[in-house]
């Protein structure tokens, strides 16, 4: 077990290294000069040179990378070119909002997906299953920004029940979460449905049935517990990707999170901020994956790592 975790951690480090190198290469391929942009038009060439020097942009790219990584090991993500603020501080000021939103979206997915999964599994191949499955498929096909704006228009403006975007407390979280929940729940629903159907066919369920246990008891006590395993797996990976995946929701609902920060940074060639956000989200994704693998060992006795 311990060696498994160590090996996975080692792999994680390699992955993060790969990500940092790739991001760095990518950034330097963007054809614009941050120093020129910071300096403004009336700045003399000397000023621009000075800015470039101050930012370390006059060094060769590999040296810049090494410098960057050197600072990184001291927990220093650098200073934003545009905002003149430490990247750590910028990220921290936005991270909370994104975590909040990602959690909201995730819970909405589960709250919609799991009951529907149970429902469709119990009604498998009945008309109600088909109707719900078809609706779920349509929901899956909706672009979030489209659904988001429509929801906001009808439930924020025409009927002012919810705030019109922004992150200001619990009520402002409902519409964005719902938007993501509706489009993302279908995956959970289908996953749970198929794993429920599989579990229901297994011997121990048959035994339980034979012993005369009620159908509800079978589902809640026996089937669901085991059927949830793949849902948990997917769920933990999902929440990792959600942290970088809610960017469209952020853009639609004026949610000032990490995604918007990264988006802006790319447009302005704000290298330290791009690096910081990309690395942070990647670390989170990798950590969630690692966590899943480890949790798996405890949850599912069939899996062994040695």
């Amino acid at each position: 077990m311990l060696s498994f975790i160590i090996r996975r951690l080692g792999a994680t480090v390699i992955v993060l290294f790969g990500i940092s190198v790739l991001t760095f290469i990518l950034i330097y391929a963007i054809p614009s000069d941050p120093a020129r942009i910071i300096a403004g038009q009336h700045a003399s060439l000397a000023t621009i040179k000075e800015i470039r020097h101050n930012l370390g942009l006059d060094k060769p790219v590999p040296i810049q990378y090494i410098d960057y990584m050197g600072r990184l090991f001291h927990g220093n993500l650098g200073t934003s070119f545009i905002y003149n603020e430490p990247v750590t501080q910028l990220i921290m000021s936005r991270l909370g909002a994104t975590v909040e939103l990602a959690l909201g979206c995730w819970i909405a997915e589960l709250l919609i997906g799991i009951p529907l999964g149970i429902f469709t599994a119990r009604r498998a191949r009945k008309p109600s299953d088909y109707v719900v499955s078809a609706l779920a498929l349509i929901a899956m096909s909706l672009p979030v920004f489209w659904l988001g704006l429509i929801l906001m228009y009808y439930f924020g403006f025409i009927h002012p029940w919810f705030p019109l975007g922004g992150n200001s407390g619990f009520t402002s979280l409902i519409l964005p979460s719902l938007t993501y929940g509706v489009t993302g729940a279908a995956v959970y629903m289908r996953l749970l449905k198929s794993s429920m159907l599989e579990v229901m066919n297994q011997d121990y369920i048959r035994t339980a049935r034979a012993k005369g246990a009620g159908e509800n008891r079978i589902i809640w006590r026996h089937a669901l517990r085991n059927a949830l395993i793949p849902v948990i797996t997917y769920g933990s990976i999902d929440i990792g990707t959600l942290l970088s995946g809610v960017i469209l929701i952020e853009a639609t609902f004026n949610w000032n999170g990490l995604g918007m920060l990264a988006y802006q940074a790319i447009q302005q060639s704000d290298i330290p901020v791009i690096m910081g956000t990309v690395l942070l989200t990647a670390v989170l994704v990798v950590l969630f994956n690692l966590l899943t693998d480890i949790v798996y060992v405890f949850v599912d006795p069939r899996i062994r790592y040695d």
Partner: protein, 564 residues
């Protein structure tokens, strides 16, 4: 390449002109409603201002800088203008200069020495006094390479000793001196007729050097502020700014009330324009003005279509010119006939229609609000839409390869216009390919002279013809990237250079007229349309007006919901 657009791109920067302080001294040059309120009758308020209350505003861009030496985009400019004051500013809606922190000033006969009397008794929010040294400090900061101010080029090399200081060869700027507590003297290497307009830019505001030394330059730009302005910084998070009233602000209105009226202003970063429009429709926000560079074009038709919203729109001309640049050094536009053909090929009226008739068709580089604009262009350079003539000119030119790539920023407006230019030019025989990209990449490309044709705008820094004609057409501005069409005409250069130092305004205008005609003859640009401020103001917001050079007059507005 409007400098104002520098950091923000045309989408965001598309309206405001030069920064400058809006702390219009209402006591000294009474901004009577008649004189100052533009456009909308609803905004004209009858009755006395009522102090108190607070407003909320949205912005669709980012707050980048708090430091007046660094702020150079409209959004940072809006808050910096509330917090700091320069020496001079503009009266009401006009381009007429008036004292701000300077109570009076003198210019020597040779036009090279400026002496300012600083308003005595003014204090920073922390109680530190404002003196002539407060300005000397800021001038030095602007000139220091370590600060990296975009305002540096406005002083260097025109101010005596500026270059030596910038290069680190002198400890002080020899041309800038505090003579006694309240007298500031600035010496120039040669006369500059628009130097006072330069000084009205917020780069050159009074700062509290003791405070900056304590917090450091970085924090002074990204966390905290210390100024003299009507509003103090109360909260700054990058996504939200809260400004609260400075109770000791030095300006009073004509009734003797101390400005500002509002207790608090909250500005939220909300990047989705559609939602921002809903906020305004809902009455949650007070204005859609400088923080948006006007009503965003994507929501403008929504305003047009709603009878109530339509009444909230106010307009005023901005000093900005939007143009199609033709690179004089690259084929096929190295041929003047080909360039002239484009002048005739473009249907500008249609472009204006595409933009919901918000703007005015342009016929020359200078906008009508700038002294030197020619009301009657000679017929030979007054190009009107005429595809037949364009075809004929192309034929005369004998140029066969008419493949052109048109570059622009990837905003909705620019792309709409791209499409129109493409179909207009193709109709007369060009083969136009469109390449639109993000603002920074676009700018880098055009500045290096690699773009054959490009769509760009210039928005004034200060209201003077020099800021358009000299900056954009003098061949010595090719290196800086301002003259992106690589226009190079020695005769025009000599007229422009002469006008740079001529202190006789009438003579200057004559020089600029000659230059305008020659430039239009050479056709390095197709002027497309002139900018316009198109703002939305709630009927319960009073005292709002538009100065083409300054930011929103937030210190002069008050709210009264019973009085609409």
């Amino acid at each position: 390449m409007a400098r104002k657009l520098w950091k923000t791109g045309t989408a965001v920067g598309a309206s405001i002109a030069a920064l400058g302080l809006l702390a219009v001294g209402i006591t000294t040059h009474a901004s009577t409603p008649k004189a100052t309120v533009a456009g909308n009758a609803d905004a004209v308020s009858s009755g006395k201002p009522t102090p108190g209350g607070s407003i909320t505003l949205d912005t669709d861009g980012d707050f980048k800088d708090l430091d007046p030496a660094l702020a150079y985009d409209t959004i940072s400019g809006e808050i910096v203008d509330q917090m700091y004051n320069p020496l001079v500013t503009y009266k009401g809606t006009t381009s007429q200069l008036t004292g701000d922190l300077a109570s009076s000033w003198k210019v020597s006969k040779d036009g090279k020495t400026y002496t300012f009397q600083i308003r005595p008794g003014v204090k920073f929010w922390n109680g530190d006094p404002v003196t002539a040294q407060s300005f000397v400090d800021e001038f030095q900061r602007v000139l220091s390479p370590s600060v990296g101010s975009p305002g540096e080029g406005f002083l260097d090399p025109i101010v005596v000793g500026s270059t030596a200081y910038n290069k680190g060869k002198a400890k002080t700027v020899s041309g800038i001196k505090a003579i006694g507590k309240y007298t500031l003297q600035i010496k120039l290497t040669k006369p500059e007729p628009f130097f006072l307009q330069v000084l009205a830019m917020p780069f050159f505001s009074a700062v509290d050097q003791a405070f900056i030394d304590k917090v450091g330059n970085k924090a002074f730009d990204s966390q905290t502020a210390m100024g003299t302005g009507p509003f103090e910084l109360s909260k700054y998070t990058g996504t939200q700014v809260v400004l609260k009233k400075n109770p000791d602000y030095f300006m009073k209105d004509k009734y003797g009330n101390r400005l500002p009226y509002l207790d608090q202003i909250t500005i939220n970063v909300n990047k989705n324009d559609q939602v921002d429009a809903l906020h305004f429709e809902d009455g949650q926000t007070a204005l859609i003005a400088d923080l948006f560079a006007g009503i965003p074009s994507s929501v403008y038709p929504t305003f047009l279509n709603s009878p109530t919203l339509k009444k909230d729109i106010i307009k005023a001309p901005s000093n900005a010119t939007y143009y199609l640049g033709l690179n004089n050094k690259l084929a096929p536009f190295n041929n003047v006939k080909v360039r002239q053909a484009v002048e005739y090929a473009i249907n500008k009226q249609r472009i204006v229609q595409l933009l919901n008739n918000r703007f005015m068709v342009a016929d020359q580089p200078l906008p009508p609000g700038i002294d030197g604009y020619m009301k009657n262009l000679p017929a030979s350079v007054d190009y009107k839409y005429n595809p037949a003539k364009a075809k004929a000119l192309l034929k005369q030119s004998g140029v066969k390869d008419l493949n052109v790539t048109l570059y622009s920023e990837n905003t909705a407006d620019a792309e709409k216009i791209d499409d129109q230019i493409q179909s207009d030019m193709n109709a007369v025989g060009f083969h136009v390919k469109i390449d639109s990209m993000d603002w920074n990449s676009f700018l880098t490309l055009t500045e290096k002279g690699k773009a054959q044709a490009f769509q760009l705008a210039w928005i004034q820094d200060f209201p003077d013809a020099s800021d358009f004609l000299n900056t954009l057409f003098n061949s010595n501005e090719i290196a800086s990237g301002n003259n992106a069409s690589m226009y190079d005409n020695k005769q025009v250069d000599s007229w422009l250079n002469e006008a740079e130092t001529d202190t006789n305004q009438a003579q200057r205008i004559q020089l600029y007229d000659k230059a305008t005609v020659q430039i239009m003859k050479d056709a390095p640009w197709v002027p497309l349309y002139y900018g316009e401020f198109v703002y939305a103001v709630q009927p319960w917001v009073h005292g709002f007006y538009i100065n083409p050079t300054l930011m929103d007059p937030l210190q002069a507005i008050w709210i009264d919901k019973s009085h609409q």
